[in-house]
């Protein structure tokens, strides 16, 4: 284990290492007691049975590092969306799962020692904890050490989204360690002061979170025996927060721009049916393992693709649409769709410690476990070109960065009413906005397989294959 540690450097109990495309977790001797208790008490099995925790198998460690106690092969995660790309429903699932895990863990005498949403990923519509070495023994009468982190990293974002809108999910990117509680307290509306969970855990907590304490005061505090929680008290605390979050069914809605697009705003049913037929045919020809649906809107074509392929990853810039897709996933119990918020003109870069802790969206989606993949960009080119000012060369490069084998892209011509609406107030010459120019830009990375006109509109669908599929253009 000589390679540098960027993924799990904060954890002294274990280390996650990526070796030849496979993730391993090394459990260190210092975590032996906790790990053994976690496995032997039945807690691991209980959480696994509920689908709350990633599964793993123990391997024989043949290395010579004396600090290693166990070598684990966890279930491999082929794609993880980061919390600032989650919609409200996804945040709600993650926080509820976190609290439920703590309730179960407490009944086994253990507790989660940290509280970061980055420890969760979505699988088959569920939030799943990926950190097996997060559990420690709960000692009666001690404080909940992850309490502040929980309030800052879990409770604050969901409260802000519930009272002020889903855009607050994206603000998590601005401060990965959680927004300061006094800042959060100021952003929340007055009515949040009448909610007991917000009042106690955000507003009042914020008053104390930055208290200046002298060494003498600190020692006096430490001498008090009963300063923490009994198991019963902690369970009451968890229940209180859980019941609030369960009541917060929706985020405050500030923008309904895209919802109902297909129902109210589309040109003709003939257009939609034809588009579906063509895409279905091309998907069955290409047989990709994964479809990456860019600009998924409310997911009509993601759901269509999900019937044809193993896995669909849908990216959409509007949090409300992401939430609508997530809710449809819940209702239909659809297991092979993952959805996340992503603005294609502001894609997630590599970030975190030394920019190596968290990976860019292109790196995560270029994962060999997802290949062969097919990128679907339906009716987004005009948004990227006109609204976001990306040139055709930029857009072609953007599509190529996903390293997918195939590309299905829809071109909406200048005379289309939607394009006319976009260019109406733009004082710019759009005479170069033609399908010929767009196709020419794509041909740098792709070869054209087929072009089909969609009946009921003047739009066209292009089916292309990556010239260097599988090779890295990142």
């Amino acid at each position: 284990m000589t390679q540098a540690n960027y993924i799990s450097y904060k954890d002294t109990a274990a280390r996650v290492v990526l070796e030849e495309g496979v993730y391993y977790r090394y459990i260190f001797n210092e975590y032996k007691k906790e790990y053994d208790a976690f496995m032997q008490s039945g807690l691991y099995e209980a959480l696994k049975a509920k689908g709350y925790l990633i599964s793993h198998e123990e391997l024989n460690y043949e290395g010579n590092d004396a600090t290693v106690y166990k070598l684990l092969l966890p279930e491999q995660i082929h794609f993880q969306s980061y919390p600032f790309c989650w919609s409200y429903t996804q945040w709600r699932k993650a926080i509820i799962t976190y609290l439920e895990i703590n309730k179960i863990a407490l009944s086994y005498g253990m507790i989660l020692k940290d509280a970061t949403p980055f420890n969760f990923f979505f699988k088959e519509g569920r939030a799943v904890l990926l950190d097996t070495s997060s559990f420690e023994f709960f000692k009666e009468g001690t404080p909940w050490l992850a309490y502040k982190q929980f309030c800052a990293e879990f409770l604050s974002p969901i409260a802000l989204m519930h009272y002020n809108g889903q855009i607050w999910s994206g603000m998590v990117k601005a401060n990965l360690k959680g927004l300061p509680l006094n800042f959060v307290s100021k952003q929340l509306p007055i009515k949040s002061w009448f909610n007991l969970t917000c009042l106690l855990h955000i507003h009042m907590h914020a008053k104390y979170a930055n208290t200046e304490v002298t060494v003498q005061q600190e020692n006096t505090r430490k001498s008090k025996v009963q300063e923490g929680f009994t198991k019963e008290k902690l369970l009451s605390l968890v229940d209180m927060i859980l019941s609030t979050v369960k009541k917060w069914k929706q985020a405050y809605n500030v923008n309904k721009q895209w919802q109902g697009y297909y129902e109210h705003d589309i040109e003709s049913p003939i257009y939609l049916n034809q588009k579906e037929e063509i895409i279905k045919k091309w998907l069955s020809d290409a047989k990709p393992k994964t479809v990456i649906d860019l600009g998924a809107n409310t997911g009509r074509f993601s759901f269509l693709a999900a019937k044809e392929v193993e896995q669909v990853i849908a990216l959409e810039s509007d949090y409300n649409c992401v939430d609508a897709i997530e809710n449809t996933i819940n209702k239909g119990r659809l297991k092979n769709i993952t959805v996340m918020q992503m603005d294609l003109a502001e894609t997630t870069p590599n970030f975190g410690a030394l920019e190596k802790e968290y990976r860019s969206i292109f790196q995560r989606l270029s994962n060999s476990h997802l290949s062969p993949s097919l990128v679907m960009g339906l009716a987004i080119v005009h948004h990227l070109h006109i609204t976001n000012f990306l040139s055709f060369a930029h857009i072609a490069e953007l599509f190529a960065r996903f390293n997918s084998k195939y590309l299905i892209v829809e071109f909406v011509p200048i005379e289309d009413s939607k394009v006319q609406l976009l260019i109406k107030n733009k004082q710019k010459d759009f005479s170069s906005y033609t399908q010929e120019n767009f196709t020419a830009a794509l041909l740098k990375y792709f070869k054209l397989i087929e072009v089909k006109k969609i009946q009921g509109s003047k739009r066209e669908l292009l089916f292309l294959e990556n010239i260097e599929s599988g090779e890295n253009v990142n």
Binding site: A209, T211, R221, Q226
Partner: protein
């Protein structure tokens, strides 16, 4: 700046001591409620909300 040397968890721990006091009252009333329910012989039904949520 002096403030950077404050342990960020200290204020939170102080607050938890207060919270613990508040929870003493909560737990006290919960126990009374549980006792009354037991005496009335009504076993607590599963909360509808719990069923609704189960993140499954």
């Amino acid at each position: 700046m002096f403030i950077l040397y404050i342990d960020p968890g200290t204020g939170s721990l102080l607050f938890q001591a207060l919270l613990s006091g508040f929870l003493t009252i909560v737990v006290f009333f919960k126990r009374i409620m549980a006792f009354i329910k037991l005496k009335l012989g009504s076993s607590k039904e599963t909360d509808k909300e719990d069923q609704e949520h189960d993140p499954s």
